[in-house]
């Protein structure tokens, strides 16, 4: 049963003509409203994940539920389909169950708040925001158990629920939910912050409708959607050829012994329509690395990825959805069946962008960047401190941005919008640890005309007994380079005990016991290089060496010979470059650092970890 909307005023909005300037003004105001949502959230949220890292995303939709401004597309439609009840003025909804909102949120820690915005008895907009809660219960602190076998192990599931009715919060229900999480005061304040942000958007929409008149306002939002439709139609004609092209990439393993999993996508155009077909993608995993990919969200990724090049100030929205068709096989790792676990979908969420980049890039290789750090490596550390107080740290790591046509990739930066690191002094003040090293890893960025960014090493000295969990990827497969660029260095995790004993940790692990005094080395991976490293400006190589971002030895990857004193040997450089050019022969578009078979064969020797077993569809 779909939801029934209770609107005392049933007069439909009239479509009226809107002049361009009014439209531009409303577009600008909507963008401000969305920024204001972010500002309210950042200032009042409490968990480091949201307040310092910015792991939360706002959205405003028009009266029909189409996203007018936001980043992940609208999920109002999916919600209305799934919700069996009324939607009235003063209601605010909460859900975190991907299976109940068609994947609008993709794992239980993301709490989605959604609110109809009424004016004079009619819905004029919807505002919504989801934010990553530090804990939602379940079998491990942080609620991201790689080894879960069903979603029931991953925390409290909240179906679409009226958390506010008629403007009044259902306190009992909130208490019930908070009773099931480990850090209730963080969730409470983050919840309040998200609600406050959605209400702020509500007020702004009402003010705008008041200022311009309901019909002009709603017609303008409609025009903004049309603008995107027209713009994206042009872009699709430009960047998507009619002939089929395919690309595949991988996540290295599922934490349960299987891997790598292949994500395969084929793209072509029929008329004005772009078709993304994921046939050939591997089956769902037994563990929680599955990613319940919402088709609409994927459309959004595609649009956002391309439109920047043409009118960066456009307010990006849902308007072009009819122009894209996304086909994902049921039961694959991108459309797993309930009750498959989903909590650690971050690896695939990131990898989707490398797939998109590789897929679109084949049409215009000159515009192509290397593969990146397109993932959010996680560290969870929890236990009781010296005062017997429970602590629970959740950190997102950063790494090497790939080399780009525009220039080098940044070292130790985020590919994810809005994310920032948590200041180490903040972490040290509130958690029992010291961060002894916080620097990028020399030579870890892939060589190229534009080199990939270096990965990041964080050395955590743990000051209390407890347990850690790690979620990361790209430890077996490489972040590929393009157009002659070399792959970036892979990630690596190691625990050094007080005794000096060194223990290589899998890139996905849960509940590793640690002791006071242990040192954890958390190395993320470097970005893939872009373009021929032998064409890199020699001065740029020298500068990187001076800055200790590239070693004198590492400079040889660019065919540059530098003495210990930092001086270029021009003659040796010329002959080395010539020699390397001859030896390598023709350069292809992608450099993956070897085939899957080759990587697996060298796995133990290279990484200190056993190779995983290739997954197969059951027949």
């Amino acid at each position: 049963m779909p939801a029934s909307l209770i609107q005392p005023n049933n007069q439909p909005f009239k479509k009226v003509a809107v002049d361009t300037v009014t439209l531009d003004i409303i577009e600008n105001a909507m963008s401000n409203a969305r920024n204001e949502m972010d500002a309210v959230l950042m200032r009042t949220a409490m968990s480091p994940g949201i307040r310092e890292q910015g792991d939360a995303f706002p959205m405003i939709a028009n009266h029909e539920g189409k996203m007018v401004v936001g980043q992940f597309g609208s999920f109002i439609y999916g919600f209305l389909e799934a919700y069996d009840g009324t939607v009235e003025e003063g209601d605010i909804f909460l859900t975190n169950d991907p299976y109940m909102c068609a994947g609008a949120v993709s794992h239980l820690p993301d709490w989605l708040i959604l609110m109809p915005i009424f004016k004079d008895g009619r819905i004029i907009n919807w505002s919504a925001m989801f934010g990553h809660m530090s804990d939602v219960g379940g079998k491990v602190p942080g609620s991201l158990p790689t080894d879960a076998r069903t979603i029931f192990e991953e925390g409290i599931r909240i179906p679409p629920t009226k958390i506010y009715k008629n403007g009044v919060m259902n306190q009992d229900l909130l208490e019930l939910i908070l009773h099931n999480v480990r850090m209730p005061h963080w969730n409470r304040s983050d919840f309040n912050a998200i609600v406050a942000a959605c209400k702020t958007a509500g007020r702004r929409c009402q003010e705008l409708a008041e200022r311009f008149g309901d019909d002009v306002y709603t017609s303008s939002l409609g025009e903004m959607l049309d603008r995107n439709y027209i713009a994206m139609r042009e872009i699709i004609r430009k960047v998507v050829p009619e002939t089929k092209q395919s690309f595949e990439d991988y996540i290295c393993d599922d934490g349960a012994g299987l891997g790598p999993y292949t994500i395969r996508c084929t793209l072509w155009r029929e008329g004005d329509k772009a078709i993304f077909d994921f046939t050939g993608t591997d089956p769902q995993a037994p563990s929680s690395v599955n990613f319940y990919l919402n088709e609409e969200m994927f459309k959004m990724f595609f649009g956002a990825f391309t439109i920047n090049l043409f009118d960066p100030s456009i307010l990006f929205n849902d308007g072009f959805y009819d122009l894209v068709d996304v086909r994902i096989p049921e039961g694959s790792i991108l459309k797993p069946k309930f009750p498959a676990p989903l909590s650690c979908r971050t690896h695939l969420l990131g990898r989707i962008f490398d797939v998109m980049s590789g897929l679109l890039g084949q049409g215009s290789p000159d515009a192509m960047s290397g593969a990146g750090f397109s993932d959010s490596p996680h560290l969870m550390y929890s236990g009781y401190d010296d005062n017997g107080e429970w602590f629970q740290l959740f950190q997102i790591g950063f790494g090497g941005v790939p080399g780009r046509p525009l220039g080098d990739g940044m070292d130790g930066h985020s590919l994810w919008p809005g994310f920032t690191n948590v200041p180490n002094e903040f972490v040290e003040a509130y958690f029992p640890l010291r961060i002894e090293t916080y620097e990028t890893i020399i030579d870890s960025g892939g060589a190229g005309k534009h080199r990939g960014g270096n990965g990041l090493r964080v050395g955590y000295r743990l000051l209390a007994n407890g347990q850690i969990s790690i979620h990361d990827d790209r430890w077996l497969t490489y972040p590929w380079g393009v157009n002659g660029g070399e792959p970036g260095q892979r990630g690596h995790k190691e625990l050094i005990k007080a005794s000096g004993e060194r223990q290589v940790l899998p890139s996905k692990c849960d509940r590793v016991q640690v002791e006071k005094g242990d040192l954890l080395l958390f190395d993320t991976w470097g970005g893939g290089g872009c373009g021929d490293p032998l064409e890199r400006d020699i001065e740029a190589v020298v500068r990187d060496v001076e800055r200790e971002l590239v070693s004198p030895g590492g400079a040889r990857r660019f065919g540059v010979v530098i003495s210990a004193a930092g001086v270029v040997d021009q003659q040796a450089t010329d002959s080395l470059r010539k020699e390397m050019r001859q030896a390598r022969g023709e350069i292809g578009i992608f450099n993956r650092g070897g085939t899957l078979e080759e990587l697996k064969a060298r796995c133990l020797e290279d990484t200190g970890l056993e190779a995983p077993t290739t997954p197969e569809w059951e027949h």
Binding site: T44, N192, A304, D311, P312, R404, M410, P423, E428, G459
Partner: protein, 690 residues
């Protein structure tokens, strides 16, 4: 008879304002700025203003100066070669920064990072470690540091920054580094993070301290040179004071040591000038907007005090230093309008024609349509008007430029021009909302004040958008910063970082800290010849719910705090939090910083006497000129502002012209001149006049 002199150095002009302390009589002068060495322009200006006013230079006792030297040093990247010392393991603290990449999904594809102000090749490590609670975990390896500093010496650094991990809680090791640096690098100025900004967050603290080092040699040589020259030409005991970003004045010595506090000296002067005229006109709550060539600065004034914030931004450099909460939006007279082919939208800015080539109407080679050109096409800037000095306006060139956008969009030139100004106004409106509505203020409780060369052109339109009346256009809106410099008061503050829950604090302890801090600021003002009994002391506390990122700064008088204890702060915090975010929490309150602020009295300047001014409003009218407004042409009356006196009323459509600024009054609105010379624009209806 004594005089005070306000001097504001802008990008194009240096403005001077000389005030007779006893009569309130004022003289202004404008001379070209001398960007290479801005003291030249200042000295030229002093020579000119004394010559034209006939005032003896020896009678000038105070020179108040708003300077953009620090800001320009950053914007033009012409600061010192800065060496940096970090804790071992943190050499790349600036390079990694907060790992943030601006933009949405895929934003990294087009992001370019700026070069660091302290480059990696000049960054060395100190092998040492402090814990978060301020205990030395590992003592400094002095020998190793010495070697590292020798490398910096050999690289000829010009300034040194020391920022060690957790130094906000204990600065001892930084001081130890400074002592060794004094030995290895004699004569090189050293900035310590524990002095400049003892606040948590290693990246922000490092960046702030590095910026201090980066601008310090230039600022200090500029100020010392200027002071020497002033003493040679004016009285021996003339006092030079510099306006800080937070709107307080500092002695030139303290300004030279902590120049990171001067980055918004210029905009702070404008806000101070607005406060001066608005408060004397009886308006204590005002939203200000200052429209310049490339951008617009907005600020909120409550009870005749500018709202402050603890962060200062210059371009893409952000530092932790208090400043008047000025928000900048990239829409000014020079902002360029265009229409992207794909979407046929109308966009204004952020690209700007700047001062060179400038708007098309300036006939200096600019061909792209700008906001100024749109104002010319609409008739708001009449062709007869001169711009700051003697520049002619070429209406034909403005029309050619705006026609391009009109053609691209398929609309008339007037529609295009009105569209451009409407979108520019909307950008300014957005910024004004950011500092009012979004901070929990209702704009209807405020007056608006527009200044800067182009502010008065947009004043009436913004009044309509904000529904904030009256809109105040102060006298000399183009030289308001100099007014601010001359009329502001000396202020200093001292702060200490605590970061403690209220439950672990007691009233007596907090009071004691504040009294210590008070002693420090009182002594500082006393050194500037301001006796203790003339000083006003305020206490401030930065408070949040434990775990939050925000800080709300709460003012409290010493008496209140002593009587009612910490509850006063709790209640004030909860009230403010509720106002801003519509909810409160049951969390423990956390006291982050304590601060004592001391202010000198306002300068005692007599009111200007208008008694001798005679004549009716008609004598100020000099003709008519057509303007386009809301789809129609109107005949606007032109007035000369220097012929308008208190009590005069100008009915729109009208244009009021003065040396460096033009005020537009739309049909249906009127402007009256108040007792201090402000133009007050208001709707004509609803005032019982019609």
């Amino acid at each position: 008879m004594t005089f005070r002199l306000g001097v504001d150095v802008g990008g194009t002009f240096t403005d001077l304002l000389l005030i007779n302390d006893d009569t309130g009589e004022t003289f202004t002068a404008k001379v070209p700025s001398t960007p290479h060495d801005s003291s030249k322009g200042v000295l030229n200006g002093i020579e000119k203003i004394c010559r034209t006013s006939g005032v003896d230079p020896k009678q000038i006792r105070y020179v108040m100066h708003g300077t953009t030297v620090a800001t320009n040093t950053i914007l033009t990247r012409t600061g010192a070669k800065v060496g940096l010392v970090t804790t071992k393991g943190y050499r790349q603290v600036l390079h990694i920064a907060r790992s943030y990449v601006p933009g949405g999904i895929g934003g990294w594809i087009i992001f370019n990072k700026r070069e660091l102000l302290a480059p990696l090749e000049l960054t060395v490590e100190a092998d040492e470690r402090m814990s978060a609670s301020g205990e030395v975990v590992k003592p400094l390896d002095e020998a190793a540091l010495r070697k590292n500093l020798e490398k910096l010496r050999d690289a000829d650094i010009e300034a040194l920054t020391v920022c060690l991990i957790n130094a906000y809680s204990n600065g001892k090791t930084e001081q130890q580094v400074a002592r060794i640096a004094a030995d290895v690098l004699p004569g090189i100025p050293v900035s310590l993070s524990s002095d400049v900004v003892p606040e948590m967050q290693e990246y922000e603290r490092t960046e702030t301290t590095v910026v201090n080092s980066y601008v310090r040699p230039r600022v200090s040589s500029y100020l010392h040179h200027l002071e020497r020259e002033l003493k040679a030409r004016l009285a021996d005991d003339v006092q030079l004071a510099i306006l800080r970003s937070d709107g307080g004045l500092a002695t030139s010595d303290s300004a030279a040591d902590a120049p990171v506090n001067l980055l918004l000296s210029g905009p702070a002067g404008g806000v101070a000038g607005a406060i001066w005229f608005c408060s004397r006109g009886g308006f204590d709550n005002v939203l200000t907007f200052d429209v310049g060539g490339t951008s617009t600065d907005v600020a909120l004034i409550e009870n005749s005090t500018a709202r402050l914030r603890r962060e200062t931004r210059v371009g893409d450099v952000a530092v932790r230093a208090p400043s008047v909460d000025v928000r900048t939006v990239g829409a000014g007279g020079g902002s360029i309008a265009f229409s992207p082919e794909l979407t046929k939208a109308l966009r204004v800015g952020p690209a700007s024609a700047g001062a060179d080539p400038g708007p098309a109407a300036y006939n200096m080679g600019g061909e792209e349509p700008t906001v100024t050109d749109a104002n010319v096409v609409l008739g708001y800037l009449p062709a007869g008007q001169k711009l700051g000095g003697d520049m002619e306006i070429r209406k034909d060139l403005a029309e050619q430029a705006v026609q391009k956008v009109a053609d691209a969009m398929g609309i008339s030139i007037y529609e295009a021009a009105e569209g451009i100004t409407r979108i520019a106004n909307e950008h300014m409106f957005g910024a004004l909302r950011l500092i009012s509505v979004e901070q929990g203020y209702d704009p209807r409780d405020f007056a608006l004040c527009g200044f800067g060369g182009a502010g008065p052109l947009h004043a009436n339109a913004l009044g309509i958008l904000m529904n904030a009346w009256p809109v105040i256009v102060p006298p000399g809106p183009g030289v308001l910063c100099a007014y601010g410099d001359a009329t502001t008061r000396v202020k200093d503050e001292a702060a200490r970082s605590l970061v403690k829950g209220f439950n672990s604090l007691d009233n007596a302890g907090v009071t004691r800290i504040l009294e210590d801090l008070t002693g420090t600021v009182q002594a500082s003002l006393a050194r500037q010849y301001i006796k203790e009994d003339q000083q006003t002391i305020t206490w401030q506390a930065d408070v949040r719910y434990q775990g939050q990122a925000l800080l709300l700064t709460l003012d409290v008088t010493p008496e209140e705090l002593k009587q009612r204890g910490l509850d006063v702060l709790k209640e004030a915090f909860d009230a403010e939090h509720e106002k801003l975010f519509s909810f409160n929490l049951n969390e423990e309150h956390e006291l982050v910083n304590l601060r004592a602020v001391a202010r000198a009295p306002r300068p005692n300047i007599a009111e200007r006497d208008y008694a001798s001014a005679k004549g009716g409003v008609e004598q100020a009218a000099v003709g008519t000129s057509p303007i386009y407004y809301e789809g129609e042409m109107h005949d606007a009356t032109l007035y000369q502002r220097d012929q308008l006196y208190p009590g005069h009323r100008v009915d729109g459509p009208a244009i009021v012209m003065e040396m460096d600024s033009t005020t537009v009054v739309f049909p249906g609105y009127r402007a009256t001149v108040d007792k201090v010379g402000n133009l007050l624009i208001e709707p004509r209806k609803g005032q019982g006049e019609e």
